[in-house]
Symmetry: D2
Subunit: 273 residues, 4 copies
Amino acid sequence: MSYQFEAGRIYRMPTHFGPAPGPRQLPDDVVVDPKRSPRRLSVAASFRTDPAALERHLPEGFTLAGEPVVTVEFHHMTDIDWLAGRGYTMIWVGWPATFTGSRDRATGQFLAVVWENLADPIITGRCEIGHPKLYAEIAEPRRFNGAQMCAAGWMEFRFLELEVSRLQDTAPVRPATASDGTLMLKYVPRTGAWGETDLRQVTLTPSGDPDNHVEQRQTGAGAVRFHKANFSDLPTMHHVVNALAALPVIEPRGGAVTLSRGGKSYRDQRVLL
Amino acid sequence: MSYQFEAGRIYRMPTHFGPAPGPRQLPDDVVVDPKRSPRRLSVAASFRTDPAALERHLPEGFTLAGEPVVTVEFHHMTDIDWLAGRGYTMIWVGWPATFTGSRDRATGQFLAVVWENLADPIITGRCEIGHPKLYAEIAEPRRFNGAQMCAAGWMEFRFLELEVSRLQDTAPVRPATASDGTLMLKYVPRTGAWGETDLRQVTLTPSGDPDNHVEQRQTGAGAVRFHKANFSDLPTMHHVVNALAALPVIEPRGGAVTLSRGGKSYRDQRVLL
Amino acid sequence: MSYQFEAGRIYRMPTHFGPAPGPRQLPDDVVVDPKRSPRRLSVAASFRTDPAALERHLPEGFTLAGEPVVTVEFHHMTDIDWLAGRGYTMIWVGWPATFTGSRDRATGQFLAVVWENLADPIITGRCEIGHPKLYAEIAEPRRFNGAQMCAAGWMEFRFLELEVSRLQDTAPVRPATASDGTLMLKYVPRTGAWGETDLRQVTLTPSGDPDNHVEQRQTGAGAVRFHKANFSDLPTMHHVVNALAALPVIEPRGGAVTLSRGGKSYRDQRVLL
Amino acid sequence: MSYQFEAGRIYRMPTHFGPAPGPRQLPDDVVVDPKRSPRRLSVAASFRTDPAALERHLPEGFTLAGEPVVTVEFHHMTDIDWLAGRGYTMIWVGWPATFTGSRDRATGQFLAVVWENLADPIITGRCEIGHPKLYAEIAEPRRFNGAQMCAAGWMEFRFLELEVSRLQDTAPVRPATASDGTLMLKYVPRTGAWGETDLRQVTLTPSGDPDNHVEQRQTGAGAVRFHKANFSDLPTMHHVVNALAALPVIEPRGGAVTLSRGGKSYRDQRVLL
């Protein structure tokens, strides 16, 4: 007898061995504490760029919202419950946009690309959430010469450097922003009918993460540098890196280093129509 | 102006930077040679198990076909054109099954799970093909004491060992099998409506890979061992490994070491209905 | 003209490119802060064993001092000045011993073996200090199920697990011990005259590290497990791991998790005669 | 009772667990085949440079011999008996020199620096042989666009690229050279007496490696590029890389790709006086 999918349980490929453990579905006997897990060191820097250049990387239904400011954030996470206490790092690249659908309308940060240095959350995030995640080797953020320094690469090619220098203590709170949340595009191509689409949905992470508590925060001068690559350097993502490297840095918009604890599992993620 | 998807081109998340380079879509100026790329060292071992145990891991529409023999294959590939000459290793676990759909019927190897040690082909394979790929650290196959030895782990936990010993040269051809190809289940869960399904399709890689040429082949005694894990060891895939570890090895069915060159890109992958 | 060694400067192989930067010799323009660097998460567990078994691993001139208690410590360090803010982890295995030389006598912790997950400090420590350092893949210590868990392996073989559970807060001070410091044997074999010795010296790290400041400390139940290996698993160090795995755990002696900052460079290391 | 060193056996730190297994001392029950192990893919490129620049990196007693031609070689090795069939890659950088000692005189390749991507042979090579080995992340040599490409880095900083293009088959023999072998300087600094020296010896690997058999050989155009680094990029070896990056490439001298099997253990290494 073949197996049946259990109702109400999340599955991922391969589905043949039962519901899939992950951030949004843990074994019953695993105790989690969303007020403590994860520990997160976030290093972010922003710059104003050319709005026309940004718009070329917005999907249908999206328009820029407010200033064309790109933000790049490294989130070095440890103490992650769903990884049994292990950690990994993610990089978020986004800018503000408004989505206008047939039913829904939302304004927030458009998440253009994510890099992570662990395949497991890449798999869970892409298929469950629609996170546009790719793999990179990501150095643990380091403090040197009074600056917080981050870098990402792939097979010896360092394609991204981010630095926040001249750091000064500030109030340990995340700056308030009027936002509906984070917007992204979940997409799956059609197998066999190459060039066609199986799934294309705008998904939203609503604002608000009440379990996240900022412990320390510093602000400073931010610098972001994407390095142009060729096919030989980055055969699967030179087009992504080069598009970002081509965005002009018209004005740096500062950076921040934030240490926080706790956070949600994105079970509140939803599809916009 | 937001971007438009170009007709006839394969996209993957993130879609915002243009069509996605990968095994089935290379930049125009990249010269490929499917008769030479990749170089592939394949190490395989099989065992007969309990048919009832196997059936519990077959999705709806599938039945066992012939003997309940599980085959585990390590494919260590180098000289991969679409990775600009780099390589990676994949592990295939499968057994023979027949799919009977509303329109199609096919008998072949059911691909239950794949592990790979590089995230890029995991991403391309999962979303374009429906390959049930997970990540593992995979040691390069090594020859020691007259045996070919393979191992896979995740974060210090070695969950799979495979060995082919008492190797003897044999004719450099792949044994012929009457098969329609390799069968798998492409699956994407629905975001927000947790437990529901966005995509569930049986896909088939048709038999035949005319560009693949076997250069050397040896056969011998095969041994496969999956190691039982707990949540703390393998938080995202203990259920997969434990299901395989629970399959009784009723009779070993030998192993083989095959060195070959060339191969197809799976552009012939198609959906069965 | 060949080069001359500069007087008073530390060199390491290769010596041909000038004095070697490292923990005890930094470029003049690099600002260091030994009160802040490194940040160190230490996880330690001890057990009482058979004194006769331990003595078999003490070099000439050494005797056991006090109870035969083996301590295994993981030190996960970040913010290391001499690595420009990067980090690594070291594992120390030792027990108390007295060295009686022709001139000197010292009692302290005998450092039997060290593992580290970065080659650079292995090289500097072995040749400058006499640290008996080997390489291991070392997982970042993780907190799971109320326990602090550590593991080390080599090429998929996990040879050491350490856990401190039932953690309770305690005073943030390092327990005082009457000790002259840490004792080790610096050894270099003679090239060509195989089996002969070029260098064999007892070296001492004196007690006292005034810049190290404990920020948090917890104690709990400790558990240490070395896994027996064969040549195929650990070809260069099965003898080390197996000797430690053979030590009977007669009585666990507890564990501790300590978070501290700052520390010395071991410039105070000296040779005992 | 403390342990005694066994006569005639090679020890390395830590010496407390018995003689040290390694390339020159294997357990009795391990069968080795120096005609088959290792398999070696060697990629080399050379360039003529300024003799005065090279001389500044020759130790006392050495003079340049013949043309000031620097050769950089990547040796990607697999099937290594003393690693139970595993592999690693080494990079050799050298140029021709003559050593004139108080007793001995030898002319050959002066081995200025070696990088390897595995700590175990770094440890054995530095202390047993005097190989000036450092650690690097080294990509497996890849073939792309008709060229063989190699790269090395450290923590995301790619400091060396080597390419041999326009490859043409040539006779599968290693070109004969009149040489006494490979020359290097074994050096150990004195602990505590910082700036003083414990060991400084010229060592020689005699020419001749009768078990090494060339299976394929191609020659082509060679290109070598060292990338200038600062302390933050390469805190322990920027001085080495920058010295090599500063050598002018006056004339490229071609490259070669060689596939071979077998080789000696360097038990014939000896000290020159």
